[in-house]
């Protein structure tokens, strides 16, 4: 009997090896962490700027479901509980989860967890964030797994997506000499992860940075998220002071109130000091206008 040629099998093996190599998780090593005394007070600010509780729950117990075109994501328990939360994590494991999207067991997280934005976070802030979460009440709560459609359910494939869409580089190259705008950039592009909702996504679910903060369909399916660039039909005319007042009080310049998913975001951000909100406003006024498109 003639043997089947070996090359198709070989080609398949090579392809598989390339896939595994391309999709490999790339966590930080212990030596990448800065020497830093954790500051839970700063961690609390990071916590509110990042809006952790909006998705993970008031007590960080998880359980909330996020319905997306890719399927249902279920939020994990990130309270400092050892068995069902993240109480047993080392600082390095926590930082890798937040800025690299890599779980302690080495697997990728799905970008429903906004690490593509957190990738721009300072490692010190991530360390402080863990220190703050460690001061909170542990909650015992196990939550279900994500429920995703093919091919999104192949977790390893997230590695390819990360290569294309995750980078610690700024989106909007601000003039780094303006410290206020630069601080705003850090808050908006990084820990505040505003772009995750306010920027439209392309066919693979990555942010279309050519329309950065230009608004688009809600990632949760219904309605639209507004354009918040200077080119926006309505919001474009808001002054910096209007933006700060809105984030503090929830009132627009017309004295309408904040609505939808933004309610919780605004309530989280209202806990930041006024100069942080002023930095956000300065950045939003500095970025390139995106032409209004039905907002």
């Amino acid at each position: 009997m003639r043997r089947a040629p070996a090359w198709p099998l070989l080609a398949l093996l090579v392809l598989a090896a390339v896939f595994v190599w391309l999709t490999r998780p790339q966590p930080l090593r212990p030596s990448d962490l800065p020497v830093h005394k954790p500051d839970p007070a700063n961690g609390e600010l990071v916590f509110h700027a990042g809006g952790c509780a909006s998705c993970h729950g008031e007590r960080l117990e998880g359980g909330l479901e996020l319905e997306t075109p890719y399927g249902t994501f279920r939020m994990p328990n990130i309270s400092p509980e050892a068995a069902t939360g993240i109480g047993g994590w080392s600082t390095l494991e926590f930082v890798n989860a937040v800025v690299r999207g890599v779980a302690p067991d080495g697997r990728h997280y799905y970008p429903a967890f906004p690490y593509p934005s957190y990738a721009r976070m300072a490692l010190r802030d991530a360390i402080d964030l863990k220190a703050y979460i460690d001061t909170l009440e542990p909650v015992v709560a196990s939550n279900g797994r994500h429920d995703l459609a093919f091919p999104w359910n192949i977790r390893r494939g997230v590695g390819l997506w990360k290569r294309r869409y995750v980078s610690p580089d700024p989106v909007f190259g601000t003039d780094a000499t303006d410290a206020v705008v630069e601080r705003g950039r850090y808050l908006v592009e990084g820990v505040g992860h505003c772009g995750e909702c306010h920027t439209p996504r392309d066919g693979f679910g990555g942010l279309d940075t050519s329309r950065w903060l230009g608004g688009g369909p809600s990632p949760e399916g219904e309605g639209r998220v507004p354009n918040i660039t200077p080119g926006a039909a309505e919001l474009g005319s808001w002054s910096k002071r209007d933006i700060v007042y809105y984030l503090q009080s929830g009132f627009t310049p017309d004295f309408d109130t904040v609505g939808g998913s933004m309610v919780e975001v605004q309530e989280n951000l209202s806990r930041l000091p006024a100069d942080e909100l002023a930095a956000i406003a300065a950045y939003l006024k500095a970025i390139s206008p995106v032409a209004a498109r039905g907002d």
Binding site: G223, V225, R241, Y245, F251, D254, F255, T257, G259, G260
Partner: protein, 148 residues
Amino acid sequence: MTRVTKLSVVSLLLIAAWPALAGDSPQEQRHELMEHVGDAAKPIGEMLKQERAFDAGVAMASFQTWAEAAAAFGDLFPAGSETGYDTEAKATIWSDRAGFDAALAGFAEAVDAAIAAQPQDLESLNAAAGPVFKQCKGCHEDYRVEDE
């Protein structure tokens, strides 16, 4: 059809359509009232943002507008006005009428307290208007449909 019946049909239709033509539907009335409430909030907000000088008279006039609106709102959500005219009212208003009435009462109470406080400077204005704004926000979250 005789001329008389034709005429009466036309006039009946006119009567039926009159509220819509005249803008007298509860949906439109409450929308308009809400606009007044927002307009009254604007000068107070501008004072708090320090975009305009503090003026006790203007602030009190706004409080009065709110008080009148608070007294009138309850009657503008009758059965049958759940939909139409692009209303942003949530169905919860009718399914949880007691909760809605309580929210309205909370608004009226906060306004009465603001009037009683008679703010004479920015700080006391902030203290008086803050609880009212909180009522606006809370009620919108619970009883208004988002048109994002």
